[in-house]
């Protein structure tokens, strides 16, 4: 069963992440997922706020706007996908993620499986 883990960081008043994790923490976490054979994929976003949104309206016109995220205090920082037997194991991995600490949280969502 595959789960998408959305890493949500919390930002302080200046827009800087409140997290105290180091790159080593993340490398260690990444390695432990790979060693356990549960790691399917994942990426970090280049920064917390740079984004654009694309919409196509009813006339087929493309509308591009800059990301509406700047004022938000919680922002998506990255994601990973794990393949584990059940939800409790997924929650265990989410709890081990450095992004779950210091005001951040991980949203765990099951991926659809179409009989694969």
């Amino acid at each position: 069963m595959k789960y998408l883990m959305l890493i949500n960081a919390s930002l302080d008043a200046d827009g800087a992440p409140t997290g105290c994790s180091t790159p080593e923490d993340w490398m260690l976490f990444d390695k432990s997922m790979k060693d356990a054979g549960v790691h399917v994929g994942g990426n970090s976003l280049a920064d917390f706020t740079t984004a654009a949104a694309v919409r196509v309206d009813e006339r087929g016109e493309r509308i591009v706007t800059d990301g509406p995220f700047a004022e938000s205090r919680e922002v998506l920082g990255g994601y990973f996908v794990v393949d584990v037997p059940d939800f409790d194991v997924a929650l265990d991995w989410a709890a081990r993620c450095p992004g779950a600490r210091d005001g951040g949280h991980i949203v765990v969502r099951p991926l659809a499986s179409y009989g694969d």
Binding site: M1, P85, D86, F87, D88, L91, P110, G115
Partner: protein, 416 residues
């Protein structure tokens, strides 16, 4: 008898078996929906066959075989469903062996179902509804009555909760030793919330709903059998027994509320009190005290006292001190203030209450206003007492509570 009424009465007869059967089938098939469906079918089949052919020598095994056969039939008819379950099957097989059954001939695998139903990823109301449905063996209309919502609403909520379990793939598994301390309080909380709704209904015509309180006690007895080494399970069962022991004295002949001071202590259930008191010792010995153990100890002190005056209030205040250390909350502070008032006089209690007046959680909390009204009236400050009672009256959820508060209000206004 209509088909539905017949089915409901069958479910009532097979209350205990229903939970056991359901849990065993969930373990076997890894799917709550299928397990529920075939559990009901097997019990209906028993009602058809047993009166005519006699109860089989191993009734549990008969029910299990019948239910499994029906499940296999269902899976033959629905290949897509079968394919999805086949995938789940692998996980079900990894679960540890069930504990031995006590009495009867069904293995007791309900513990894992308790943890699934009380999973933190489910909304709190759904946890209670599922536990009542799957473990207490209540029918959906009965669960709906427990929540005072229409049957159809509850039916939808249960379906939604089961879908959530399936979609997230919440496992049917007892958490391991490392995880248990984090997960057990959630299970106990569900059972206790069923009890508190039974002890003091939040709304509706009746003050108490003893059927719900008894369901909660029954669930706690099951947990106590399955987790004999967990002291907080003993504490929860003790607390509920010690409080429920006073049920008959808590309401007057007209259904009205009778406060602790005025209760006829001769009507307290002595057998329940001694069972509860013995469990308090189990709960408090051999480790640091837990939330339920301490609350049970407080309840035991009330139950052992001959009257309010001779109650060991200093000890009760001391236990509230322990409780506020374990789980600080404005409601604990409120109860502690009332105990302090009994130990040191109403003025001491009132000054504690007034220091809590800014707590957001106590704003709009009826028992806070009622306690203030009581202390103010004991101090002879009648107009202020009347204001407090009026406030409590507006916040009360049941008619017997309102009636009691109207009486107190009339007293402090000198109308009686």
């Amino acid at each position: 008898m209509t088909g539905r009424a017949a089915a409901a009465s069958v479910e009532a007869v097979f209350r205990e078996e229903r939970g056991l059967l359901l849990a065993a089938l969930v373990r076997r098939f890894g799917d709550l929906d299928l397990a529920e469906e075939v559990t009901s079918e097997a019990i209906e089949a028993a009602l058809v066959h047993w009166p005519a052919e006699g109860v089989p020598p191993k009734p549990g095994a008969w029910l299990m075989t019948t239910a499994r056969r029906k499940a296999v039939d269902r899976l033959r008819r629905d290949q897509a469903y079968a394919a999805r379950l086949a995938e789940l099957q692998v996980e079900a097989e990894r679960a540890p062996a069930p504990p031995p059954a006590t009495g009867g001939d069904l293995p007791d695998e309900r513990l894992q179902l308790f943890f699934t139903c009380a999973h933190p990823a489910l909304p709190a109301e759904d946890r209670t509804a599922l536990t009542l449905r799957c473990l207490a063996g209540l029918t959906t209309p009965e669960v709906a009555r427990a929540f005072l919502v229409p049957s159809a609403t509850m039916g939808k909520r249960i379906v939604r909760a089961k879908n959530r379990i399936r979609t997230l793939r919440i496992p049917f598994r007892v958490p391991d030793a490392g995880e248990l301390p984090g997960r057990l309080p959630g299970v106990l909380q569900v059972v206790y919330s069923i009890f508190t709704e039974g002890y003091a209904a939040s709304s509706g015509p009746d003050l108490q709903r003893p059927d719900l309180a008894e369901e909660a006690i029954r669930l706690a007895r099951i947990l106590r059998r399955l987790l004999p080494g967990e002291r907080e399970v003993a504490g929860l069962l003790a607390l509920m027994l010690l409080v429920h022991a006073r049920r008959d004295a808590r309401t007057g002949p007209d259904g009205g509320l009778v406060l602790l001071d005025d209760q006829d202590r001769g009507r307290w259930d002595r057998a329940m009190i001694s069972e509860g008191t013995a469990l308090v010792e189990v709960a408090l010995i051999g480790g640091p005290p837990g939330l339920y153990g301490v609350q049970a100890a407080i309840a035991a002190l009330h139950d052992e006292a001959a009257d309010v005056a001779s109650t060991d209030w200093p000890q009760i205040v001391a236990l509230y001190d322990v409780l506020r250390g374990l789980a600080p909350s404005p409601v604990v502070e409120l109860n502690r203030a009332v105990a302090v008032a009994m130990r040191d006089g109403p003025a001491a209690g009132l000054s504690l209450l007034d220091s809590l007046a800014d707590e957001p959680r106590l704003r709009g909390y009826g028992p806070f206003s009622a306690a203030r009204g009581d202390l103010l009236s004991r101090l002879g400050r009648r107009p202020e007492a009347a204001d407090a009672y009026r406030e409590a009256l507006e916040l009360a959820g049941t008619e017997p509570e309102r009636e009691h508060l109207r009486r107190r209000l009339a007293e402090v206004r000198g109308e009686s």
